[in-house]
Amino acid sequence: MRIAVVDTSAARAAVIEEGLREAGLTDLHIFLERHGLAASLEACSPDVVLMNLENPSRDMLEETFALSRALARPIAMFVDQSDESAIAEAVDAGISAYVVDGLRKERIKPVLDLAVRRFQAFNRLQTELAEARSQLAERKSIDKAKLILMKKRGISEPEAYKLLRSHAMQTNRRVAEVADSIITAESLLGGDL
């Protein structure tokens, strides 16, 4: 079974590719570039096209598929409505699939399921990464605010942190938010930090 993965994210395409390969599906073709996509896909002639839902090329490709005179005309996976919850899950995960007419459902289902799981894993990874990034950014601004307080008030680092924390508790804010406002105030007042 030849599978084309069309994605706007090279990282996500790699995650999908890895999953499919592990499952023994090795006839894989990755398309990241919008230009010439229709022609490259036609030349590739895949049995299944997996595509991220937010890909702006979807309308263009569906038009191409509608006009396709080739025998193997891909149709939206959604045409098989026998399993609505699976379709809803795919949409929720952010994936769409096109399958050539006539390909047996029991051959497609595992591929789609796998792609959905990989998309979900990728989404989780993205969220975790974003959280890690914001935690790192918070720690940096807390360090910076501590430095400002130590310099202005001539206090030690633990004292500066205690001050930040007690102020955060009094004003019902997070320590990082208090730190941000200290940094903002300092820069507005012309500090050198």
Binding site: L53, P56, M60, E63, T64, I75, A88, S96
Partner: protein, 402 residues
């Protein structure tokens, strides 16, 4: 009071303004609705979220709501359109060299003259084996049908002599710049983006092809609209209020600033304001031209879903070869537009309600009073560029003539 939650899908276009303003100006909340907007980059995805869960309603190209009901490329799902989000507002932009061959960039010719010149050029290029290629935003879009209507009405053999391809709106300028296409029919601000980059010249506007032609609609699943009508009534009342705010000249600039935000159109407020204020810069370096009613989102019951507008779209789908004509299909297409829901939503308000649900499209040559069940209503001209009219009760005769 707990708010009813509505998720509405949209594409980054100026005519997504009403749902955006309904949320941002607190108009939805005032009607007890918590409006969440979901931006996508293709109509396919806007529709898939609407059909397979995720959203409750969508900003949608009108013919796609009909195609979805008819099941043209997905299993059929009955759609309901209780409210039209706007009329017209699209333009035809050509690559500068092509524009110079048919007009003087910066000037707006009448659609008949320009159509004849373009038709001659299209025929010439087809004979030379170098067919002109036009972009539209979706197979089942008003853009596609208005462009085809104009070209065919100007004498172009659309099936034989031109190529029409699909290009997502945000790529219009890039596709023109890279010569993937020779021209495009697209909504704002994407024509203006092409003009600003010097890769396109606006040569025509869809209001000059069919004045008051239906454009985007609010679409939802019919079962959903019928199961819980009351929140839908409140939603479309909020959208109607948003229309009032949209056309207020004192708000043009503020509205453009809201639409320009990263989570909405993520673009330039200056370019967005051009369409909002009907002042369009046709070619780079030229003064903006005032094109009255370039967009038409509120007055003259613009939001009323006339069944005859859906009928006209169905006729164009037949002409384009997208659907085989059938009585059942024609009836189903017209039933997508739901004047009954619109009337129920505005009963007892000061919003004028037409008495009829269909009209002779293209039949009004000067402002005319029409029968209402509530309030007074004057409708302005709704002419087609070729002067033809469309009678929804005479589809066969209409198709036979064309």
């Amino acid at each position: 009071m707990s708010l009813d939650h509505f998720r509405i899908g949209f594409l980054p276009l100026v005519d997504a303004a009403l749902p955006i303003l309904a949320r941002e100006l607190g108009l939805a909340e005032a009607e007890g609705i918590d409006l969440e907007l979901v931006r996508d980059m293709s109509w396919a995805t806007v529709r898939d979220r609407l059909i397979y869960g995720g959203t409750d309603a969508a900003h949608l190209v009108a013919p796609l709501a009909i195609a979805t009901t008819l099941g043209l490329d997905r299993p059929p799902v009955a759609m309901a359109v209780p409210f039209v989000l706007g009329l017209n507002g699209n333009a035809v932009t050509l690559a500068p060299a092509l524009a110079e061959a048919v007009c003087t960039p910066g000037e707006l010719l009448d659609s008949v003259t320009l159509g004849q010149r373009l038709a001659a050029l299209i025929a010439l290029r087809a004979r030379e084996g170098a067919k002109l290629r036009f972009g539209v935003v979706h197979r089942y879009s008003s853009h596609n049908y208005m462009l085809q209507y104009w070209l065919r009405g100007s004498g172009v053999d659309v099936a034989r002599d031109v190529e029409i391809v699909t290009i997502a709106p945000p790529f219009a300028a890039e596709a023109l710049g890279m010569r993937e296409i020779d021209g495009i029919c697209v909504g704002e601000p994407w024509n203006s983006v092409a003009v600003e980059r010097g890769v396109g010249v606006i040569v025509n506007v869809t209001s000059h092809i069919w004045l008051r032609g239906v454009e985007k609609v609010l679409a939802m699943q019919a079962t959903r609209a019928d199961a819980e009508p009351e929140p839908v009534h409140r939603l479309i009342r909020a959208l109607h209020k948003a229309g009032e705010a949209f056309i207020d000249p004192a708000r043009f600039s503020a509205n453009a600033t809201i639409l320009a935000r990263a989570d909405y159109l993520d673009g330039s407020a200056d370019l967005i304001e051009r369409a909002i204020s009907d002042r369009i810069t046709l070619a780079a370096g030229h003064e903006p031209l005032h094109i009255p009613d370039f967009m038409f989102q509120h007055r003259e019951a613009a939001n009323f879903p006339w069944a005859s507008q859906a009928a006209w779209l169905y006729a164009q789908m037949v002409r384009a070869g997208h659907v085989a004509k059938s009585d059942d299909g024609y009836r189903a297409a017209q039933q997508v537009f739901r004047p009954d829901i619109y009337r129920a939503a505005f009963a007892g308000t000061d919003v004028p309600l037409p008495g009829a649900s269909a009209k002779l499209e293209g039949g009004i040559s000067e402002t005319t009073g029409v029968g209402t069940v509530q309030g007074r209503l004057l409708l302005g001209p709704d002419r087609f560029f070729d002067g033809r009219a469309f009678d929804p009760d005479a589809l066969d005769a209409y198709l036979a003539e064309s």
